[in-house]
């Protein structure tokens, strides 16, 4: 997982790890929350471009970050969902709350 903060846009980009399960989520949760607290972003984009596997741990992780970011006055986005990732998010209903975009880094300064 990698994160990148764009100061001008107050945007935090989180590039998700390849395999998202209970094990990997435990490792990245605190790092992501630390970056959110440190930068207080207006937009947090979770990029799933390089995700090859995700189970329900990904749903719990995104719901947790959604609550945290919203509480701090920011907005969440899910970007570049693969077909299998989308299938799992659709089952949970969270796509009704969180917008899906095709975010690309070339769009920000």
């Amino acid at each position: 997982m990698q994160t990148k903060f764009y100061e001008k846009d107050k945007l935090l980009l989180v590039k998700m790890t390849e395999e998202i399960d209970d094990n990997s989520v435990q490792k990245i949760r605190r790092r992501v929350d630390y970056e959110i607290e440190r930068h207080m972003p207006k937009r947090v984009v979770f990029d799933f471009n390089s995700v090859t596997f995700m189970d329900s741990a990904g749903i719990g992780f995104i719901i947790g970050r959604y609550k945290f970011v919203t509480m701090l006055g920011g907005k969440l986005e899910l970007a570049n969902l693969t077909q299998s990732v989308r299938k799992i998010f659709e089952m949970s209903g969270i796509l009704k709350l969180i917008p899906v975009t095709d975010f690309s880094e070339t769009l920000v300064s």
Partner: protein, 159 residues
């Protein structure tokens, strides 16, 4: 004409979360003998990941125990059994409800059984409080002739 496959496997591993990936990679390697599509294989891996995570988080509650995974292939079907000797499930019907979780503080989504049930053809749960839980799942792998996409793919590669 596809060759008839009959095979069995069994593995046991410690209830450590690093073994969630081990379990799903193992089942994918085994299931590939039935020549599944990428999507069917992803469904099986996800269902196994959910079942094994349940054993680790709920069955053993992060104590160290043994998780057992058995699988068999017969004709076009894979049968998978995943079991633990953990604390068991008090109310199976409630556990299966979408979004129901006993561990919201761990950010569990409560979607595990819903995913298993929608990705596999059948899911059966047997559990005895204090003794453990066994999950049995089946999935039929469609024959290649029913898959038009793979036919056209073969046509392209032959050119």
């Amino acid at each position: 004409m596809k060759e008839q496959v009959e095979n069995e496997m069994k593995v046991e591993f410690l209830s450590k979360s690093a073994n969630e990936a081990f379990a799903r990679i193992t089942i994918a390697a085994f299931a590939s003998q039935l020549d599944p599509t990428i999507e069917e294989l992803a469904d099986i891996k996800t269902a196994v990941s959910e079942a094994v995570t349940n054993c680790i988080i709920h069955g053993y509650e992060n104590r160290i125990g043994i998780v057992k995974m058995e699988a068999s292939l017969k004709e076009n079907e894979i049968l998978i059994e995943i079991s633990d000797h953990g604390k068991g499930i008090e109310n199976i019907e409630m556990a299966k409800e979408p979004l129901y979780t006993t561990k919201p503080n761990l950010e569990r989504s409560g979607m595990g059984f819903t995913i298993m049930e929608s990705f596999m053809d059948s899911v059966n749960v047997e559990s005895v409080v204090g003794l453990g839980t066994k999950i049995t799942m089946r999935k039929e792998i469609k024959k290649p002739e029913e898959e038009k996409e793979s036919d056209s793919f073969q046509f392209i590669t032959n050119e």
